[in-house]
């Protein structure tokens, strides 16, 4: 991860920003956390190389044409009192052929590598790991068919392995609903739209570990701006460990799974489980959280057969993620609260999580009344799409306590 730029370099950049006319020349030195100019894998590297090569050609053409315009304007300006009529030139065939053929030659030179690359990139890379990507309004879901893991917002991938994303759009669990989105992590690959009713694919690969920023890039309605995503590239060993952890069930949910139907009816809390957490468990069922988020895994998962259809993000390993709600809120506090790109501490931002669970539409623009997004559970607000009357604060706290067990 890159650090915040120093004060000095920031000033230098300010000065650069003013020299806009020569913008093309300053490309090389600009930074941003979501930049497309700093590729970190082969599928972003090749297009980038081609683009920068074209940019140089464009810069030459730019300087030539603008120079010609300025020179011509200056050289042939009419001086005061000069009322002569210049020679009435109507054209020059040789010149016109020149400025038809030269651009044509330049374009052919650009076209050849472009065509080659288009064809090369369309092929499925060897030994690719498949991940299913599902665009919802307004968050991303990822499913790993090889291991049965489901996660959200943060796409976790191993370094050095080509990833084949098979992408689609869903809404309310229906594969043919939903709207267009576009999955984009600029450091790793270009973007590709997800289209309801179709499966589109995208190749990506990270060559070094890191947390790469991305964002939905196809307008998808109200909260399009709040649909961000991250790609987390881990060393292969770390990735194996991550998968193994994700396959495990929630300990609390597993404990409740051992209860008899009668005990569940009586809302018994198993031994070793905090009473507040237990209350949260039952509220999670009764307040209908499960209707959207699906059941918390009580059994280990191993393959695509274990996928649970759900309308909202699967929460079994919520705390393994660093951000939530379309990656617009930090689940963990940052070392520097003022820097949105600072490293994370291991302190959960309970306040933010509570605010979200209490009244999500007040935190992020959503329309639960139309079945899109999470409803408000705050009493006295519009609870359409959720639980009539909402949940009192102490119940919310219990649900939070339960959520905080989902490591």
């Amino acid at each position: 991860m890159r650090r915040i730029p120093s004060r000095r370099s920031r000033q230098r950049r300010t000065a650069r920003g003013i020299g806009l006319a020569v913008m093309a020349l300053v490309l090389a030195g600009c930074s941003g956390e979501q930049t497309m100019l700093d590729p970190k894998g082969p599928f972003s590297q090749d297009p980038d190389t081609l683009f920068k090569y074209v940019l140089i050609v464009a810069a030459v053409v730019f300087v030539f044409v603008q120079g010609l315009i300025i020179f011509t304007s200056w050289r042939f300006r009419r001086k005061d009192g000069d009322n002569d009529i210049p020679e009435q030139v109507h054209g020059n065939t040789a010149l016109e052929i020149v400025w038809t053929v030269i651009p044509l030659a330049i374009l052919v030179a650009i076209a050849i590598p472009t065509v080659r690359q288009v064809i090369a990139l369309a092929e499925e890379p060897d030994g690719a790991m498949v991940v299913e990507v599902i665009g919802h309004r307004w968050w991303w879901e990822y499913r790993y068919p090889d291991s049965g893991v489901i996660t959200a917002n943060e796409l976790v991938i191993p370094v050095g392995t080509p990833i084949r994303l098979e992408m689609r759009a869903e809404e309310s669990g229906a594969p043919d609903r939903g709207v267009l989105h576009s999955f984009w992590v600029p450091a790793l690959a270009g973007k590709q739209d997800v289209i309801p009713g179709r499966v589109s694919t995208l190749n990506m690969q990270a060559d070094e570990p890191g947390r790469y920023l991305g964002q939905c890039a196809e307008y998808c309605g109200l909260s399009h701006a709040n649909m961000r995503n991250r790609a987390v590239a881990l060393e292969p060993d770390d990735f194996e460990a991550w998968v193994a952890a994700q396959q495990q069930p929630s300990e609390v949910a597993a404990a409740f799974a051992g209860l008899s139907a009668a005990d569940l009816e009586a809302e018994v809390v198993p031994d070793g489980i905090d009473q507040e957490v237990g209350r949260g468990y039952y509220l999670f069922q009764s307040a209908n959280c499960v209707a959207c988020h699906g059941q918390i895994n009580a059994e280990p998962v191993a393959s695509a057969d274990d996928f649970v259809a759900s309308q909202g993000p699967n929460l079994t390993h919520l705390l393994s993620r660093r951000e939530f709600a379309g990656a617009i809120f930090d689940l963990y506090e940052r070392e520097d609260p003022d820097d949105p790109n600072a490293d994370f501490t291991d302190q959960v931002d309970v306040e933010q999580l509570t605010a979200w669970v209490t009244n999500a539409p007040s935190q992020k623009a959503m329309t639960p009344e139309d079945g899109v997004g999470m409803p408000s559970f705050e009493p006295g607000t519009d609870n359409t799409g959720g639980l009539a009357g909402g949940l009192p604060p102490e119940d919310i706290d219990a649900v939070i306590a339960y959520l905080l067990t989902m490591e």
Partner: protein, 113 residues
């Protein structure tokens, strides 16, 4: 709508031919159209194998040309009208065919990398 009076003279050769077909010829064309429609209709009952669709399209094309050429006087009128019609027709067919092909090319395996 009559134009405002200009003193324009003709700078494009007038090819307008006032000799339209006679009523008799129109009826003959209509007879041909009748026959063609009857043939089209018959394809509903007779199977022509792999030639079935091409045959229908050819019949359609002939009918099209008869109506456009004789009833709309394209055969006798100035070239501009023919050009307008052909531009519209060919343009529409090319563009929509290209769009259809593009639509069908995509379904799978087309990632950008």
């Amino acid at each position: 709508m009559a134009d405002t009076a200009t003193e324009a003279t003709t700078d494009v050769a007038v090819t307008h031919d006032d000799h339209h077909p006679s009523a008799r010829e129109y009826v003959q064309i209509a007879g041909a159209l009748f026959g063609l429609t009857a043939m089209e209709f018959s394809t509903y009952f007779i199977e022509f194998g792999p030639l079935h669709i091409p045959l229908l399209l050819v019949l359609m094309g002939i009918k099209f040309m008869l109506v456009a050429g004789f009833f709309m006087h394209l055969k006798f009128d100035t070239r501009v009208f023919r050009q307008l019609m052909i531009t519209g027709l060919v343009g529409a067919m090319t563009l929509y065919l290209a769009a259809t092909l593009a639509l069908h090319e995509f379904p799978a395996g087309a990632g950008l990398g």
